[in-house]
Amino acid sequence: MRPWGPLAWLLERLPIVRSGFGLLGSVAAEERCLGVVIGHAALLQRATLLRIEDPPSHFSDRQKEKTDVHEQKAREVLGQRVVVPPRHLLAKDDDIASGLEEALSGGVQSLVLDITCLPKRYSFLLVKLALQHPGLRTVVVIYSQPAPGSYTDEHLAEDPQAVAALPGFSPAFGEQDTLVVAVGFEALGLPQLLGEYRDRQRDCVILLPFPPGQPYSRRLWQSIMAVGYPGESSVRRVSAGDAFGTATLLSAEWSGQGARSNSIVLAPYGPKPVSLGMCLHAIRHGCPVVYTQPLVYHPDYTTGIGTTWGYCLKLNSVELWRSATESVAATQLS
């Protein structure tokens, strides 16, 4: 069972609607960070919205101004039920993990983890820790799209850091033979990453989100061309919204019997749901995940709030996410 869909639809089918849930997310410059706060305020027991500060940049003032507005809005809607702890973009693992502990204080047993505006170095570790947490009975990850066609035409982010593993997903040895890269609108940092991994005769496979959503197919292909099209045999199309589908594809091809290889390194540059699928696969199979964390995000990254999607990973202590990461023969999928 892979329960995912529009959040409203999903919640109708989950028992947590009756008891309410805790929210762990972020307040950010993008309006969509408030998708669940505005849409489902009545169900929130308690909300922990991390306010993540980027290093100073030419965008700092605008970022702060917009984030202030969204924080104010969250406080207006949720009143005493919201806390907004500050964090730094490059926070240590312990500081990231403590966000989860704060969200779970007060006996929260059902958690909605909103990865919409969480940087990957936060969201990957938080998903992992939430799934490992013995006190959490239900875990739903959510992602809010922006208003259609609202991504800025400029670079979404700037100043990628050097290639490094995401917190909680570092490699033990340096000999992974396949690099699996999910691409998105922004190839920033990806050429640098591919450069670091070129000194091995390793495969490179691209996960291509489909449909890309108009008017972005051209932009997506620009990202691919920026890093070099590896040929159709090295491209896998994944549903842009189906996190479970991505995890299933990865598990079918790169784990268990008939797998091409058990030794892969993942690079999540694609849409958040695809990243979530990669995260689930990495948790289950212990794969390293590498990334070039940008230090600056565009204050007008997106505008508006679109559909909020929910992915129920754990329900009443039943780990639903595991079925998507089972090792199945690749032929079963074809």
Partner: protein
Amino acid sequence: MMNESRERPMNPFQTLYVTETLTDPDAYWNLFSPKIISGETGRLFLAGNVVLIGSNGTGKTMLLRLFSCEVQEAFLRHHKQLPLPGEKAVFGVGVNLIHSGFGSLGRRSLVGGKIEDEMRWPILVADLLNHHLCFELMRVLEFLGNGSLLATALGAHVTEAALDEFAQWLGRQDCWFGRMRSADSFTGLREQIKSRILLYREFFNWNRATLPTEVLESCTEIGVPLAVCREGLGRHGIVGAEQSLMVTIDQYETLLHTDYEQRKSDPNALGRAFCRVVNSLLARRDSSVSFKVGVRPYAWGRELRALGTDARVECGRDYQVVNLDEILRRKENSKSWVFPAFVEDVARRRIERFTPRLSVEDLNMKSMLRELTPEVAIERYCGEKPDRLMPAHEDWPRAWQVGLRSLYKKDKLSAKFAELWAMQTLLRGEDLPKSFPKRNAPWSGEWWKKERQDALLMRIASECRQRRLYGGWDDIVTLSAYNVLVFLSLCREIWDIHDRAGGTLKWRSIEPEVQSQGIRIVSESWYAKQSEFPGGSRRQDFVRRLGIGIRRALLEDRGLSYPGHNGFSVAMDEYENSSAEIRDFLEDAADFGALMALPHTTKERDGRPRRKFYLFPVLCPTLEIPAVRTKEPYYATIEEVASWTSETRPTISFRRKALVRRAGKRGRETQMPLFPSQRRKGKR
């Protein structure tokens, strides 16, 4: 006539990185130029510690990979010569710090307190590195024991029994603090080492809540287990003592990045402490184990202390430096410049491999690139209007008007130099000679012309509303600076365009228009690439503003009195006393191929040592400025540079200061007088 399809070769420059061909020794042998392993670079493969410094694209990783047993084995299996000094095999093991997860350490609390954590983390990193290197050594030994030709080349005797004995002996050594005593076989010992690495990984990756106390209390001393391993290999007759164990540690800068963004100038930053772990390996000075550390220029020298002491590792005593940037960069004496011969060999090898049907002599890249002389360039800029650059100065003495026009009809380039010289004279407030010089013209001096030629051509192209044309081997080498990646990118684009333009039957001659188009594509992509690296957007913006500033300065300097102002220079004392932020910004810019940083021998009377900076040559076509460096860059103060590099991102301008400085001697004239001779009279 040859069949066209058979004659058309694939682009020999398609694969930019030789390292991509490491598993194909034939390809590697054909693409790798051993000319890079000569002189200083050869030191890398001799016993002794070496820090190999090289910026992106200079071939650092390619050289370090030659230590790999797999690469050497492939050469031997294909009966190829090892491209190493004396063709001697080396006993190498290595670790790539990024790929082995060293970039993500120090992020979890170990025991709770920040101070204690920061003391313990480097010890843990040292222990982890020790285990990684020992594990890798055991992997190499196993490889050598599987019928390897490399084992024979090294004089190694690797048998299962010998390895087991070695492992039993090794497990009993004190360096492990008794932890490995139970290892009764080579496999058993290797598994114990692997378990330790995996245990660390479980903790780093939050798969376990804490590190067991016994781990924290049994950390090995940096470098000791490896040294004991080397001793044991000799004792058990596996690898003779004459073979120095060569340990490569690539991507040293990864350690510095640990918390560099947050704690740049903090001497106790964790990343610096991790660097000290590797520095301690260099400080060991153990002749049986040599360390070869690969590092980007910006990351070496920021932390030179060894672990647990304030003593610094010293160049010459603890290690030698092989700086690829310096080796490949053009020096004052161009005869000693190795880069042109190196890339010529690289190009020849590639063409030879990918165009086997054609004569190699016919396909020499150097001779294929048709040269564009300045005279021809001017004709092309003029196009169908040959008189469009005719000097027209109605206020100048008639003899000069006539003389210039007459000279222009015969030799456009000389006429433009003459016009420039006259302009310079007038701007100095002096009169032009009464008659137009016909012999021994003052503008015909070789150096005077050489220093201004590139800037003049830039201005002419601008005047004709055309983009600058390039042509010839020298242009390609100049634009590549010392970076073989840029050189190969230029060759790849030029080859592609030539091919698409139907140049199949004219391989011997690639026209300047084709070369210029390829050059512009690579230049634009190198500019765009700036934003792909850490700190890139600010650096890219700086490059853009500096390019605009330089272009404006050169266009507004009508007499081209300061042709060297396509770069700037700062006094070393000011530079070294400036904030770390400015130095880091400029050094990073040099490392990521945005700037070139060079020592500057000043002509100023004070003789203060200076450091000069130029835009990286391949960026110049996009920014429409000359790539050739001529003497006397703009003398900037550190305050000016600080403002240029600041986050406020101001317009960069240095024309005014330069003119005022010179004009000060002559009454601060920044405008050319309308009637120079009258004005001079008036002054008197």
